[in-house]
């Protein structure tokens, strides 16, 4: 049976990894800090996937982001999805060449559907994750600052027409609060979506992960909370979910 997944998301901005709260970023540490406190090479065995998002404002420095990615993925034998500010097929190529197994698109889904189709045509739909930031029925692009004219449910249906591979559904309201996922919305979207669904925003502890991962059509739960899962937090959360009979890979 296809397993569900636990995903850890890293928010990167101008050389630093960040704790995000309702999309306001707080610098936590650079890649040395991350390696020291998260021992990524070890912890990757407790995860099923990693997402790395470049939230640098303005003219996002792709080269700098790509070289960080290149270092991050060394000796990490799980899939890594990377994105943030991808504006061309060439941008996507840079990330693939530097260790991304999939790329994550957000604003481009709305603004550049033809570019999205080009990437899908070349790299296959399974290589493209569509990231959606929302509050209630409102969808936002551009790092959560620009509201678009399509309600969430319609937007999900629109994304399916772009032929992408998965959807990463992120609640701006719950983001970084540690209060738990937006279960109502997750439940509603999981009933209408045909694509694999990753949910994000709000996980503060392993009970929150359990609540969301137990929903039938939720394929993966993501957390970006650098504080709540530090040290052994992620291996312990995984152990807890397996004890609760979640359908996860049991071996390292």
């Amino acid at each position: 049976m296809l397993r569900k997944r636990i995903i850890f998301t890293l928010i990167y901005e101008d050389g630093f990894f960040n704790q995000s709260r309702n999309f306001r970023l707080q610098k936590v540490g650079n890649i040395d800090w991350l390696e020291k406190n998260y021992h990524f090479q070890d912890i990757a065995f407790s995860l099923d996937e990693i997402v790395v998002l470049n939230a640098s404002k303005g003219d996002k420095d792709l080269k700098d982001f790509a070289s960080m990615l290149n270092r991050l993925v060394d000796n990490v034998f799980i899939p890594v999805a990377a994105g943030g500010g991808i504006d061309s097929v060439a941008d996507a190529e840079v990330l693939f060449e530097n260790g991304a197994d999939k790329i994550v698109l957000n604003s481009a889904l709305y603004e550049k559907p033809n570019m999205v189709r080009d990437i899908v045509r070349h790299y296959g739909k399974q290589s493209v994750v569509g990231s959606v930031d929302y509050i209630s029925q409102d969808v936002f692009i551009k790092n959560g600052v620009q509201k678009i004219d399509m309600p969430l449910d319609s937007y999900i249906k629109y994304l399916e027409t772009l032929n992408i591979g998965e959807v990463y559904l992120n609640s701006i309201e719950q983001d970084g609060t540690g209060f738990g996922y937006d279960i109502d919305t997750i439940q509603r979207i999981s009933r209408i979506i045909k694509l694999p669904l990753i949910v994000a925003g709000g996980a503060g502890n392993e009970k929150h992960l359990l609540e969301a991962i137990s929903k039938e059509n939720v394929d993966a739960v993501a957390t970006a909370n650098l504080f709540n899962f530090i040290g052994d937090g992620l291996p312990n959360a995984r152990k807890y979910l397996i004890e609760k009979h979640c359908n996860l890979v049991q071996s390292a």
Partner: protein, 203 residues
């Protein structure tokens, strides 16, 4: 041992190289140059992307001829991963029928999304066939990471092991010097690294 990761400009070859390095392969070359292929002890054909685009890129680089020379004439071990595995087969119906390299009798078609979510993404279990070299010394049901929308099926004995996703499809094959996995061994934690190690040691 010299291992060449065949680079035809599609997808992430870096994680394959990283896995080989982890397995103490010292001589890893990422190349599409026939001279490098010629000097290699083993070849890895990775691949992420669409079948049609991939075959175009392969042909544009003359790699179809070069690979045939190495793999069929010279019987050099080759390991296809994901799309690379599918390319070793006869054909795919992804975006219209495209011919593959045809080293292995297997055809690729799309999953039916009436019954399951497509793409098939995540860890799923493979039941290794008995006397498999790829899964030597491993358990009977093993998790590996899959990410694909198309599956290979075959009516021939190509040494296949199966995974079930609304029916069995070819999760791996192994026949003589030719092997392939639909899953990504380089993204499948310890199990995946073991499969790669077995390929390096036993093919």
């Amino acid at each position: 041992m010299k291992v060449v990761i065949v680079d035809y400009g599609m997808g992430n070859v870096r994680s394959v190289a990283s896995a080989l390095k982890f397995l103490n392969v010292t001589d890893i070359i990422i190349s599409s140059d026939e001279k490098d292929l010629n000097k290699a002890d083993k070849l890895i054909l990775p691949g992420v992307g669409a079948f049609g685009s991939a075959m175009e890129m392969i042909k544009a680089r003359g790699l179809d001829v070069a690979l045939s020379e190495q793999v069929i004439q010279r019987q050099k071990p080759v390991f296809g991963i994901c799309l690379g595995m599918q390319l070793l087969g006869i054909s795919s119906d992804e975006g219209g029928v495209t011919e593959g390299l045809s080293f292995i009798d297997g055809c690729v078609s799309v999953f039916n999304d009436e019954y399951v979510t497509v793409p098939h993404i995540g860890f799923n279990q493979v039941t290794p066939k008995s006397s498999s070299r790829l899964y030597r010394d491993m358990e009977h049901s093993l998790d590996f990471y899959f990410v694909h929308s198309h599956k290979m099926v075959s009516n021939s004995d190509i040494g296949q092991s199966y995974c079930d996703y609304s029916g069995n499809f070819v999760a791996s094959f192994e026949r003589g010097n030719i092997a392939g996995t639909q899953f990504h061994p380089e993204l499948s934690k310890t199990n995946g690294l073991n499969v790669l190690k077995n390929f390096l040691e036993l093919f």
